[in-house]
Amino acid sequence: MARAVSTRRKWFFTILAWSVAFVIFFPILWTVLTSFKSEGDAILIPPKFLFFDWTTENYGIVQERSDYFKFAMNSVVLALGSTFLALLIAIPSAWGMAFAPGRKTKDLLMWMLSTKMMPPVGALIPIYLIFRDFGLLDSRGGIITVLMLLNLPIIIWMLYTYFKEIPAEILEASRMDGATVWKELVYVLTPMAVPGIASTVLLNVILAWNEAFWTLALTTKDAAPLTQFIASYSSPEGLFWAKLSAASTMAIAPILVLGWFAQKQLVRGLTFGAVK
């Protein structure tokens, strides 16, 4: 009896959950489906769901017309570049705060987080003018620096929480064996922290990839990543839905896959360790 009830209950919740999930996921699914339609089918009412002439020509046309790979390359360079640049100064910092904390370490961590709370519009005008005067507008180096600074607090914070979980005794043991601090950092700590560093990289690549305030304001063509590439489709003459869908699918697919892998890190990173 109880079993019958729980089976029915299970079915009820399963169907409910799948329906809700389908509705939430639908815009993405619809975009992917539309990207395989001809332009005529794409705007057809009533819409065709699966039984249309499947074609991949949109992807070719999008690449040809607006050079997808150039923008994708910029997205990759900006996301990886800013993340690795940030790691370079964040790893020593997180190490210092986790293993040689001073009295002010906690205040320092909190202060670093507080820089993340600054609304970008507060800095937009000066950064824009500085970039203009130094010829940094639409340059990869400039936008990498901004993205690096933007994500630095989250990177330090995440690394700090991961480093904290490494037992300090191991470091002491290596120190007893005569390892210098540099060796300790490179040969002992870093290998142990690889999973944490990998998670940090993953989350920050996602954040940098989707960053759409600074990339829209500071790039136009040469350093423009995929956010700008898609924005260029908002002009009326760019509104061919099948092509827009193909472009959108190509812009979100890589990060969607990464994001699905990074769910746990996302919770940890974006709540600054408040929810694990």
Partner: protein, 302 residues
């Protein structure tokens, strides 16, 4: 056991990031404050006041210094009230939708359902969609008044087509942004729910606790903290929503505070006014940040 030497090294190691973040915070802020006091328009044919030496500046004080008039102008601009209202509407509605919806969804996904992992992936997906894509997909394929998918549904239901962005631009933006942030709330709350003690759950079931009072007395207190975290973090991001409004071209009627500052600065070239607006945005964000920092700070102690 940190020795004196390692503590010094630690300080040295922390220095580069402290310097970088300090500059990143203080230089733009100082410049924004400075600009906000100047009459500074990029289209002004006169030599820009921000480039003058102190002596020249003193001579040209009348031309250059705006005093508080940039603030006055910005704060009394009807567009400012509109933008503030839009900012608050956006933050308020998206918070409501994502906290209530997120709690319900998290409770649903926490049940023993078949294919839970796939359902979870589908629910979380919108959070990873870049804002510019979500703006164009919603504006065109979903909400287009003639060929959009929602128009087809409402017409089939006999409600007639709705031109979302023309008639209800704010509603359209709220739906779009909530679609991106509901998954985030769900993910956080689900993570919190899964850390709930299984034994307590079983004990309550054996005692025959009614589901509603179990929810009210056990689940709600357990979720109070993650909900607070969600509210604070989403508020910070939602106050800064920009791309969705910019790319969907609804800045005229649904523009929020960041959009207005952008408009002042990079479209009207009024650097002084934009800086004053930017500072107002900073003050607002700091009020929220204050509470968030206290929350996280407490967590750090415990």
């Amino acid at each position: 056991m940190a020795t004196q030497q390692s503590r010094q090294l630690g300080r040295l190691a922390v220095a580069p990031s402290v310097v970088a973040l300090f500059l990143w915070m203080i230089v733009p802020l100082a410049m924004t404050i400075w600009f906000s006091l100047l009459r500074y328009n990029l289209l002004d044919p006169n030599y820009a006041c921000s480039l003058l030496t102190p002596g020249q500046l003193f001579d040209e004080a009348n031309r250059c210094f705006a005093g508080t008039s940039n603030y006055y102008y910005f704060l009394t601009d009807p567009a400012f009230f509109k933008a503030m209202a839009n900012s608050l509407i956006l933050v308020g509605w998206v918070l409501l939708i994502s906290v209530v919806g997120g709690t319900l969804l998290a409770l649903l996904l926490d049940q023993a359902i078949m294919g839970r992992n796939i359902v979870r992936l589908m629910v979380i997906a919108p959070f990873f969609v870049m804002p510019t894509v979500s703006a164009l997909v919603w504006k065109n394929m979903m909400m287009h008044p003639v060929q959009g998918f929602l128009a087809w549904i409402t017409k089939s239901l006999g409600l007639g087509a709705i031109d979302w962005f023309a008639h209800y631009p704010m509603t359209a933006i709220v739906i779009m942004v909530a679609w991106q942030w509901l998954p985030f709330a769900t993910l956080i709350l689900l993570t919190a729910l899964q850390s709930f003690d299984e034994e307590q759950k079983e004990a309550a079931q054996m005692d025959g606790t009614p589901p509603l009072s179990f929810f009210w007395y056990m689940i709600v207190p357990h979720l109070a903290r993650p909900v607070t975290v969600v509210v604070l973090i989403e508020t910070i991001f939602l106050l800064n929503v920009f791309a969705e409004i910019y790319v969907s071209g609804s800045g005229g009627r649904a523009g929020n505070l960041p959009f207005l500052v952008y408009q002042y600065g990079l479209i009207s070239n009024d650097i002084g006014g934009a800086s004053a607006g930017g500072l107002i945005a900073v003050v607002l964000a700091n009020i929220v940040a204050f509470f968030l920092m206290r929350m996280i700070g407490k967590n750090l102690e415990g």
